[in-house]
Symmetry: C2
Subunit: 363 residues, 2 copies
């Protein structure tokens, strides 16, 4: 059978130019990462909220199942310090009734650190030595990039605008992920107002391909082989897909989240800061609507504050308080095992490329 390969996907030995996106907070389990990598995509861990020891444990689980390459992603935005009592109180009050509704004890004040220590996480990545290491919500210093490259990793960063892409290139990154406005989950913005950085994937990926020399991975709104072909047409070397993998049986997303995704007929997403403190795209639910004008803490303190509520909602099979991250093309989601999905994506990509070939008429 024919294969679709770019220089970037060839370097990683992928069966098709596809990264299964890192999805922190549940979906990207070792099972999903291993299944994606074994099937020829690049499986990825979203380790934003994962402690170093757990990172190492999960990476070992993948290595026990497959020798194919995988990626690790970290959030690199700085954490805030201690929160003043008044802000803490109003943020707690805003969510208290939901804790009660879910039969949870009153939410407690959150204290730093609100998330794992970044330096310790970076050290864990150095130990794990993944084939690909990517960062979100910021860049890395040139020396840090070089340290991971010296271990053989391809190092990538996310850009929501041209300036972020150029900055990553200047810092020596191997590739840039153009995260279009369609993308589910956290917006990667750090140089511009995130609400002024919601440029659609088709526009953003093309602008970034034109602006930098390093390979571009297109992310946002890609759900099938036609989408992968479109990303390649824009000059991207690879597509990154997250939402498409959420309904997979190997994904650790809440069942209520999976069930909602495969029933959609329209884009029912919006951007919210209420789950974590940073803007992220997800399916609109009660929490997003009711909290719209309520106070919140800075990222990731708000994430710590809402943790028990999100978990209780997931356990109860109730979508009201789950962070239902999803991209705008979520209605194209399918509930397939990762290997079947990736095989389907490969066939669809080849079909789309064949269709395009047929549109050229020699005269």
């Amino acid at each position: 059978m024919a294969r679709v390969a770019t220089e970037f996907s060839g370097k990683l030995g992928l069966r098709l130019p596809l990264i299964a996106a890192p999805m922190a907070g549940g979906p990207s389990t070792p099972d999903l990462v291993a299944a994606c990598s074994a099937a020829g995509a690049l499986g990825s861990f979203g380790f934003a909220y994962t402690q170093p020891d757990e990172m190492k444990r999960q990476a070992a689980l993948v290595r026990a199942k497959t020798d194919r390459p995988f990626g690790i992603n970290l959030f690199v935005s700085p954490q805030p310090g201690a929160i003043d009592p008044a802000s803490q109180r109003s943020a707690l009050e805003a969510v208290a009734a939901y804790y009660t509704e879910m039969n949870l004890a009153k939410p407690e004040a959150v204290k730093p650190p609100y998330a794992p220590d970044l330096e310790a996480q970076l050290a864990a990545v150095e130990e794990i030595k993944p084939a690909v290491f990517t960062v979100h919500l910021g860049g890395l210093k040139r020396e840090q990039v070089q340290r991971f490259q010296a271990q053989g990793a391809l190092v990538g960063g996310s850009a929501n605008c041209v300036a972020e892409a150029k900055g990553l290139q200047a810092a020596g990154f191997d590739f840039v992920i153009a995260q279009g406005g369609e993308a589910g989950g956290h917006r990667g913005s750090y140089l511009r107002d995130p609400y002024q950085s919601l440029t659609g994937t088709l526009a953003l990926a093309r602008m970034i391909v034109e602006a930098v020399e390093i390979p571009v991975v297109a992310a946002g709104g890609i759900m099938d082989g036609a989408g992968i072909a479109a990303a390649l047409a824009l000059g991207a070397e690879c597509a990154q897909m997250g939402t498409a993998f959420i309904p997979c049986p190997e994904s650790g997303a809440a069942q209520a989240h999976k069930d909602l995704l495969v029933k959609l007929t329209e884009d029912e997403t919006a951007i919210t800061e209420k789950f974590s403190g940073k803007p992220a795209r997800g399916l609109v639910n009660r929490f997003m609507k009711e909290m719209a004008s309520s106070p919140q803490l800075a990222f990731p303190a708000q994430n710590a504050l809402t943790g028990k509520l999100r978990q209780a909602s997931a356990r109860a099979g109730k979508p009201d308080f789950i962070a239902l991250w999803a991209g705008q093309a979520a209605p194209l989601a399918r509930a397939l095992p990762a290997a079947e999905l990736i095989a389907a994506l490969e066939k669809e990509t080849l079909r789309a490329l064949k269709h395009l070939k047929g549109l050229v008429h020699e005269s």
Copy 2:
């Protein structure tokens, strides 16, 4: 030389699957429409604010220059009735200082009709008999669609969501324009909240291609041949590009608008209702910023209210009060004559399709 053709573009005898978007309020002059059509794209009139006699005059000017097909677009949203004095007063007060700044007389109260009569415009389209007739901001009744089809026109409508696309198909439309969130100018939304219908082109076009049987035209964020190839990869039969044609010498856009477009390095657009009363995407300028929380009239009364101000700003070469409509990929704009731009787009599309062909490796 090779040609890129789809069934849709073949039916219209186009040199490449490209519609030069209808741009009301200035850009789409008879010169631009004629130049685009003569060069093998489908030139289009944006006649939203044009009186029937003027429509006929301009169409005749195009026919004097080329026998190639062209399109006409109308806005079909209903006009509001008379506006109550209090609303009128506050809307006038909100813009009064700008009128003074531009040495204009105080703005006057606006009265219905705020825009040309739609029935009379539809009758003019019947007289003109364009090859393509499209509507924005709504649909048409099945009988109306059939009346234009009986004259040989292909009839199209704009959709910002799947339901709008399905509705157009159900009413017998020949094709649907999937207007992604990247697109410049007025959002076409009419079934959903326009702010909940900002789905990116890559996501929206693919969802609509999957949801309907009729041909889909992809619009929004497409600025070059790679973008056209991406639209075709998504299964669209044609790309529609507006912003790319604004800097053309044949375009009637204000010089200040053209000059700004070709200097951009980032997406500097946002959605505003302040120029016309309906949400539209344009480059952020002083009017958009300062008016953000000011009162406005309903569409198209607000358009009538801001008319003299916009014109004076354009005459003065001052971008502050011009509606600087632009899509999110505007930084890719080039100032070329329409025929040169279209020749470049054709070459780029062929190059992109050749690149894609080269990514398939037989094993």
